[in-house]
């Protein structure tokens, strides 16, 4: 099972239907899978923080969703996570490609990508780095279950060692 199969399987098992995303080369295979396949309904965003709003609204209407984006885009969601997801206890799930660490060629990606877990910890957003395919399905499944059961966000950070780093060296 590829990591993409693992994410798709875990999302389906948890009735996650609404997918909000911005393009990302590391997640492109996953995005193509959910864009074209039932039961997913994909929405292409203009900016990642809109996804926190859109998915929160979808949850208030009875749907479950997930945000797919890159760590640099997750940086735009900090206020939304802090001032919408947390105080309202609306669950939030994200599958994020984490830039800025092993294999990174672009220094614009380093400050937030490398520190994304620390930043999320500081504002009380649970998160977990994934870097081997074997545990992806289990971790996404359990993160989704915990997010929707507790009314707390959960962010899964997929390292470039899992998704395949861009080779620009």
């Amino acid at each position: 099972m590829t990591w993409i199969d693992g994410v798709v399987s875990a999302l389906q098992r948890n009735d996650v239907r609404r997918v909000a995303y911005l393009p990302d080369s590391a997640l492109s295979g996953l995005i193509e899978r959910v864009e074209s396949n039932e039961p997913f309904e994909a929405v292409s965003l203009a900016r990642e923080e809109h996804g926190v709003g859109l998915l929160s609204g979808a949850y208030l209407g009875g749907e479950r969703g997930v945000l797919l984006c890159q760590s640099s885009g997750l940086a735009t969601t900090i206020n939304a996570l802090s001032s919408l997801s947390k105080p309202t206890r609306i669950p939030f799930l994200a599958v994020v490609s984490r830039r800025g660490d092993l294999g990174e060629f672009n220094d614009a990606q380093v400050p937030f990508g490398y520190a994304v877990g620390d930043v999320l910890d500081d504002i009380g957003i649970r998160n977990r780095r994934l870097d081997v395919p074997e545990t992806v399905e289990r971790d996404v499944d359990l993160a989704a279950k915990s997010a929707f059961s507790t009314g707390e966000p959960y962010v899964l950070l997929l390292d470039a060692t899992l998704t395949g780093a861009k080779d620009e060296f």
């Binding site: 965003l45 926190v52 309202t88 206890r89």
Partner: protein, 240 residues
């Protein structure tokens, strides 16, 4: 707010009329007693009442600050979702609700917050849910932070450039018509309503989790979603 602004006085006069029982619920001024040819500006309170009157079952998402204060002061109903934070996200929240339910959904935005997230309108246009109406109260200021000016933007023009149906209302009567047309429109639609700034005393409940739960229960009868079947699987341990 600022009493130097003559249009503000017009808004106050409209509300005074209402209090006197004059049949002018949308603040459009039956008799123009000051400046006969100048249409009196719409009043945000009266127009918010008009939203509730036109779409009593609508799920309403109100931007933080004045839009929420005005709505809460009229009626703190379960189908109101107020933002206390999430600046610039009211339209995105409303889009998500509209994609998930069939009932009418109305967003009450401010001009400052709309300008913060104009890009969200491109996503609204791409999804184009027929049950979504967006009202933008254009008072020209950041009302919640003390009335600092907002950049002058043709928000309806920007919305049309994104592919949305959009109009601008200058008076209460124009708003009444424009909102009804936005609700009836076959896709998502936006109405800018030009209003003088107001400073309502009312506040929505501060317990955001309570408001969110109450809103969700009202939209789903407490039966939809998340916790049902999946929690059973969780207890059983699934097949990890």
């Amino acid at each position: 707010m600022s009493s130097e602004d003559p249009s503000d006085e017009a808004g106050e006069a409209d509300r005074a009329d209402e209090g006197n029982g004059v049949d002018d619920p949308i603040g459009n001024g039956g008799e123009a007693d000051e400046g006969a040819d100048i249409p009196r500006r719409a009043d945000q309170i009266a127009c918010t009442e008009r939203v509730l009157g036109t779409t009593p079952e609508a799920a309403i998402i109100a931007n933080l600050g004045v839009a929420s204060y005005a709505l809460a002061g009229i009626e703190d109903r379960p189908r109101n979702f107020y933002c206390w934070g999430a600046m610039g996200l009211a339209t995105s929240i409303g889009l998500g609700v509209a994609l998930a339910i069939d009932d009418p959904v109305t967003v009450l935005e401010g001009d400052g917050s709309m300008c913060m997230s104009l890009g969200a309108l491109s996503t609204v246009a791409a999804c184009d849910p027929p049950n979504l109406a967006i009202v933008v109260w254009e008072n020209g200021v950041y009302g919640t932070t003390g009335g600092q000016p907002v950049a002058t933007v043709d928000i309806a023009g920007a919305a049309r450039a994104c592919g949305l149906a959009a109009t601008t209302a200058e008076t209460g009567a124009e708003f009444e018509t424009g909102y009804a047309e936005a609700v009836a429109h076959e896709g998502a639609a936006l109405v800018v309503c030009r209003v003088p700034p107001i400073d309502p005393d009312a506040r929505p409940p501060l317990d955001s989790a309570h408001v969110a739960r109450r809103f969700r229960d009202a939209l789903t009868d407490g039966t939809e979603g998340a916790e049902g079947t999946v929690r059973g699987e969780w207890r059983d341990g699934g097949d990890q």
